[in-house]
């Protein structure tokens, strides 16, 4: 009787000891350098944690994403690890996998790593916008109009546009980058800094120009978040022409549509 008791007790207690010993060791190297743990490391890490602990951490990461996404600035992996994941970083891939599932199944959002080198994440809406008037008439952010105008010009002009083309079209729309706009404030700052930081636009210096000139391209976020076919559709409405008449843009829009959003194909192809 006593022997059996002892037998059943010893393994669990030694396991508990091992568990508690593992954590302080990992706290030592709590710095920026973060190497993606291997799948076996993740497996081993998961064995040491209860499912509830992993769920809790996942929930924290999900909340971190939601709050961070408010500013529309891509979220850095380094920040996630530093502020939320912390000592759970040995199971980071698992946590991100679960967070991705949560966004997918609960929020209808897609977590996308737009930059696999610098590890930047954004959230994208997986659901198609409601046709016609939305039941909830959320006030539109006028900056989206400004952004749309720039993105559409860049796209229609073949993907790269020199900055003065953009400034000139904006001037025609009564927005002078040199003046303070009542809606956008410092327009140049919004366009070349805010939109760039949000990864909607790239603003790059053109080589060999004197005086210095810059050009605009689509940023990584725009490539994922903005639908080229929809832009063509809208422009077609405006010009009262068939979007297909812009054959080159039309081809590109529908080619990139298939390559950049393969996973959400069921929802986007209607």
């Amino acid at each position: 009787m006593t022997q059996r008791k002892r037998l059943s007790n010893t393994p669990s207690s030694s396991q508990a000891k091992r568990q508690s010993g593992a954590f302080p060791a990992q706290d030592d190297d709590d710095d920026v350098t973060f190497t993606q743990p291997s799948s076996t490391q993740v497996q081993r890490g998961l064995e040491k944690l209860t499912p509830a602990q992993v769920d809790q951490k996942t929930a924290e990461v999900v909340q971190f994403f939601l709050v961070k996404a408010q500013k529309k600035i891509p979220i850095r992996r380094a920040d996630i690890v530093k502020h939320v994941v912390k000592e759970y970083k040995n199971i980071y891939p698992e946590i991100i996998k679960r967070a991705t599932q949560t966004f997918d199944k609960v929020f209808g959002l897609k977590l996308v790593e737009i930059d696999t080198k610098n590890h930047l994440y954004i959230l994208v809406n997986k659901l198609d916008p409601v046709e016609g008037d939305s039941p909830i008439s959320a006030p539109a952010n006028p900056k989206m109009g400004l952004l749309f105008q720039i993105l559409s010009v860049v796209f229609m002009k073949g993907g790269v546009v020199r900055e003065n083309v953009i400034w000139n079209t904006l001037k025609k729309l009564r927005v002078d980058p040199g003046e303070k706009h009542e809606e956008f404030g410092d327009v140049k700052k919004v366009v070349t800094e805010e939109f760039v930081r949000q990864k909607y636009l790239e603003y790059v210096r053109i080589p060999h120009t004197e005086p210095v000139e810059y050009e605009f391209r689509w940023g990584q976020r725009a490539e994922i978040e903005v639908s080229k076919p929809k832009i063509l559709e809208f422009l077609g409405e405006l010009h009262e022409v068939d979007p297909k008449s812009w054959s080159q843009q039309y081809r590109e829009a529908h080619a990139s549509q298939n390559s950049s959003q393969p996973s959400s194909s069921s929802s986007s192809q209607r």
Partner: protein, 342 residues
Amino acid sequence: MKRARSSGENEEAPRQNGSSSRRQSENSDVEDGEQAFGLGDLGEDDNDASRRREIRSKYRDLINTIQQEREDMVSLTNNRLTEVLEEANNLFKDVRRAREAALDAQLLVVATDLGKEKASRLFSEGTAFDTTAYTEHLLSFMGLNRLEDGQQNGGVDGYLPQDAWHRLAQRAQSCFRTAPSFHFMRGSFHAEPPPPRQRIERQRKAPSKEAKRIMPTELKKMEDSQQDETVKEVERILAYLKGYHKDDPTSPISYYEFVIDPDSFSRTVENIFHTSFLIRDGLARMYLDEDKLPCIAPVEEGEAEAAESSNRKQGIVSINPKIWKELIDAFDITATMIPQSE
């Protein structure tokens, strides 16, 4: 002789560079130009500095023209770019030195860049996108009223309504798969971390500064008040002692009955502590009665000086909760003789 050869070697490199890059520009005039300066011309005007200066200045002018008339250069309706390249070719006939050849290369870099842009314009020519038409359509969509005069932009026709960009944004939203941003329903915490953080720091800093300034005086005060407290307490106890003695001068006051507070061990200790000052200062004396039990009595004014000279003894009173309880039982103490102040 030596000099001539070395200059000839210098010549060799730039000319080759020049001819190969010229071929890149695919200009048919090149061939003739190339032949114009054979080896025979070498050393003819080698040191003609002013001629070289003129060539350089012409090259710089050309580069400037290209950069300043960029829009004109890449336009599909004229041949300005070709003209410039031909001009450069003519100049190159007289190039003898690396310095001029470098300028030629520089011009070619700029021209190539323009060529690329021009090519891209040609490429999309079939479905050219006219930004002017586009902006006009957008203005109509945004609700431009062409009949009214624009007030803020004096020169521009038409009046653009206040919500113009809202209208566009509303429509453009369908092109964006933007994740709706998350907001707290009560909305009070409008994620602005920097200001609160500063406030916390300021709050922390301010008191610490003040505290530093106040610290010394405050500490002194505390010590003062503590001393005052002790002095007061000692005087208070002396008053009690004198009072009891006055009430019945003949019967001795038992030391333990005097200091022990049956309800509080700590008060007892305090009483012993304060009473010791009375003994030290010669305001009270202790002695043993017939039963060898300690008694306490106040020292009269006159007696004090006599006591001063007489030999004084020191004693240690120790007490712990156990002894305290035993004493309470032994002396059958029910109430303290020194009531708590206030």
